[in-house]
Each structure stands twice: as structure tokens, then as C-alpha cells.
Symmetry: C2
Subunit: 269 residues, 2 copies
């Protein structure tokens, strides 16, 4: 038996929220090595224009290719929403985003066919989740809301408490009133608010995120393209950021129980 | 009499909050032209490292010099806090930041000598206001607080209301309890929250920002360096952003009653 393809899976995000996808990949594909780049020097992407997000995504993806990545995973919902086609057109390796996996996850659990989506301004404005959901199910109903304050709240470490609940309800009440029974957490940061959101919306609304389904898509892709590493290997995780890490890395590390080890800093832009 | 020096005053900020300084400059120096660049492609600076903010500041300042600016005004508190020395060392024109003017404004109004400062993480971590205040008054007492949620709240347009008040009190209560009688609004966005902050802190606390004093410093500098334009001129305001403008520009425009006209977009980074 061969040693398989030991090159890393390249994963990127605008910041470190994409480590939620890394966490799912580690669980599902423990033998695979991962090279992660978070563009913390230019975070957030969620309020920026599609043109700028496309340019940043191509630049970060080129860092992943320089590390010999065998495939590229776009862990950022904003970049997946507005830059996936540009990445697929430009990169010599296959590209997996988080939108289609998130849409699949939502359709697998909705009972009344009414799905809510929350995300950054750019993600919601792009209509990416609506398109992905409708491509899979023509009669799905979608209600979406941009929630630009959630990322700053999470990065401040306010994952629960009165202020966070009030901000959440300001954004979520219209979705709950509209009758959604499933909510897509359409930003890699949002799973850190999962328990608070779940408490506010109650048992009647299922929460889904893209991480598990995205990891499953990557597993299927590796099999299809014969890119799996040998199962005797233990995968290595390397994390690089474009700006030195701050306190949020600790918050994410604690929440994800992910040992990112020493963080590299790579200049860009 | 000569026509004076008709070259523009160059002003930059990480985003469009620096238009508060432009507004003060327009009132004080109506004959001067202004070229403003907001680095909206990489906003915010407030959570990023000093090295990255220095690099961005030098890049944006070079855009101002290409427009033939006769002097550079750093309207961003974060850039003024961590990049002023680098700019002064590198640029061939004089540079005015907002920290010293803000410190002067605070010392002019404090009665009990206890000044509060709020700003971004980078501004507060730099200790720039403490240093500037102590350089002017050795016995001033300073209590500072980083308020990373305020910029996102303002950019969401939530300038008042229950959530905004609760977030503000979370940040301001320790300063009020410590006994400050003056608060420096140490971020160009914060003047948009002035009335809400004033109501929460009451008449016992004076609010100061850097805009007026910064404009006064620039006026003094122009006189000192003989850079004034002829008084018969009407100054022109040009605004460029590194990413296309979004809805916040409208909010700022309305609040500042500043006619920015057509906005140029300049690629960088």
C-alpha cells in the first residue's frame, strides 16, 4: 500500500473563526495534515465589497498553494459567498466552500421547509444561501438576516449575558416570528453563540452550521480525487495568521478545545 | 499678495470616522482644500498589531503625498497612537495626530484632574493618551478603557437605545465609579455617540474629542510653516476610500452634515 498523498489540506478564513471547520476536519480526518491561514491583518471581510473579498481570497489561497496544499477549503462564509467562483476559476486544485454544505445541513433537518439564515452583511447581501437552498429544494422558504454585531460581540468574549441576548433577539425575533424551524449559523464565529441562540429560540428551532457537512464534503472529495493520505499517519495542524494573534485566539482555543500550537505570522497585502 | 499654498491638507483614517476631523477642519479653515483617504478595505485598525497599523499608515500616507498634500493629518486615534513616530520619520511633510490635541482638550476642562479615556484596544494598549496627558500635567490621574464594541454599534447605526446604553454602561461604569470628571472620546467614531454618553454620565462629566483641537493645531502649523492658502479661495473636499462605500457613509454624512460629494475608490494593499 502506498503512503498516499501526505500534502496538507489548505484552509483559510478572514480570521480565526474558521478554526471551527478545522476542528470538524480533525475529528473526521485525523490522518490528514492541515495548513490554516487566517487573514487577521484585514479581518473582517463581512462588511467589505465583493471585489476586495475576491482579491484577498486569491492572495490567501496563494499562500496555501505555496505550502503545497492538495485542496483548498474556504472556511469563511463571506469568502465562500462572493469569491468561490473566482477561486475555482483561478486555482489549480479543487475548492470547497461552506455554503452548499450548510444548505444541505439545513435541508436535512427542516420539517416545515422554512429555513432562517444569519451571517455578515456581505454573506446575506450575496444571497448565496438562498441560491444554494433553492438549488437543492425548489420549494424551500428562506428568511435571512445580516447580523454585523455578532462577530465583535464574540471577539469581545461576551458569549452569553443580557447584552448578548438582547442583541441576538433584535436580530432573531423577525426570523422566529416568520416561523423558521431551522437556523443556519452562516458565519464561522457563530457556533460559539450556539448555546445562547439555542436557549433563546427554544427547542422548536434546529441550529445548523457548515462545519460538519463541510468536513464530510472534503472527505468525499479526497476519496473521489484519490488524495487521501495513508491512514497510518497522524495529521499535523499548522496555523498561520497575517497579523500577530490577540486574545480571541485563546477564547476560540478554549471553546474548540483545539491545540493550535505555535502560530506562524505571514505578511500579506 | 501671493496666492498662498493651494495644495491640499491630506487627512487619513482607517475608515470614515475621520470625517469628524474633516468637519472641524472645514469650519476652522474654509479656504483650505482637503484630500481624505479612508482605508475601508482594511478597516478596522483598532484590533490589529502596531507593526501592521504602521505599515498601513505609511501606505495610506503615500497616497496623500501622491496628491501633493502639504501636510498630513492622522485623524485615526489608533494610527496616531502607534504610527505617529514612524510617519514623522518617513514623511517629507509635517504630521499632526489626534492624541496630543485630545489630551490638551481634556486638561483644559478637567477640574478634579481625573481624566477618563475610551478607545480601541490598540489605542488603549499603547498608553498614548496617558503619556500625552502626563507630558502636559505631571499630576493628572488617568483611567482608560478599551471599548471594542462601540465602533460596530455605531456602524450598525445604533446610536441610542437600550442595547447601546447597556453596552456603554458596561464600559463606562468603572470610569464613572473611579471618579473621572472628563472623558476623552478617543476614537473618531465616538462623537456620534456623544449625546447618549452625555446622558448616561450626566452633567458631572465633560466630554471632549480631538477634532476641534486637532483642527486648531493644523491651523497653527499652517501659519508657522507658511503653508496657508489665499483667503479668497474656497477649499475643495475630496474623499477617497480603499473599498467602495457602504451605508455607514450615509449615517456619517447625516450626522456630520458634511457634503462629501462623489467618492473615489483607490486600490491598496
Amino acid at each position: 500500500m502506498s503512503n498516499g498523498d501526505a500534502r496538507p489540506i489548505g484552509v483559510f478564513d478572514s480570521g480565526i473563526g474558521g478554526l471551527t471547520v478545522v476542528s470538524a476536519l480533525r475529528r473526521l480526518l485525523p490522518h490528514e495534515s492541515i495548513y490554516y491561514v487566517g487573514d487577521t491583518a484585514r479581518v473582517p471581510y463581512g462588511g467589505k465589497s465583493p471585489t476586495t473579498v475576491q482579491r484577498y481570497s486569491l492572495e490567501i489561497a496563494s499562500l496555501l498553494l505555496r505550502e503545497n496544499s492538495k485542496t483548498v477549503v474556504v472556511a469563511c462564509n463571506t469568502a465562500s459567498s462572493v469569491a468561490l467562483a473566482a477561486l475555482e476559476a483561478e486555482l489549480p486544485v479543487s475548492v470547497t466552500g461552506v455554503i452548499a454544505p450548510g444548505a444541505e445541513a439545513a435541508l436535512a433537518v427542516t420539517r416545515n421547509g422554512h429555513v432562517g439564515v444569519i451571517g455578515t452583511r456581505a454573506t446575506i447581501k450575496s444571497g448565496s444561501y438562498e441560491r444554494a437552498l433553492r438549488a437543492l429544494s425548489s420549494d424551500v422558504r428562506v428568511t435571512a438576516a445580516a447580523c454585523p454585531l455578532l462577530v465583535p460581540l464574540i471577539e469581545e468574549g461576551w458569549l452569553a449575558g443580557e447584552i448578548t441576548e438582547k442583541v441576538l433577539m433584535q436580530y432573531l425575533r423577525p426570523l422566529a416570528d416568520a416561523g423558521i424551524d431551522t437556523l443556519v449559523l452562516g458565519c464561522t464565529h457563530y457556533p460559539l453563540l450556539r448555546s445562547t441562540i439555542g436557549r433563546l429560540l427554544g427547542d422548536g428551532v434546529s441550529l445548523v452550521d457548515s462545519a460538519e457537512n463541510c468536513a464530510a464534503s472534503v472527505r468525499a472529495l479526497l476519496g473521489r480525487e484519490k488524495l487521501n493520505t495513508a491512514t497510518g499517519q497522524t495529521g499535523r495542524l499548522r496555523v498561520a495568521l497575517t497579523d500577530p494573534p490577540d486574545s480571541f485566539l485563546r477564547i476560540a482555543n478554549d471553546a474548540l478545545q483545539l491545540d493550535v500550537g505555535e502560530v506562524e505570522v505571514r505578511a500579506i497585502g
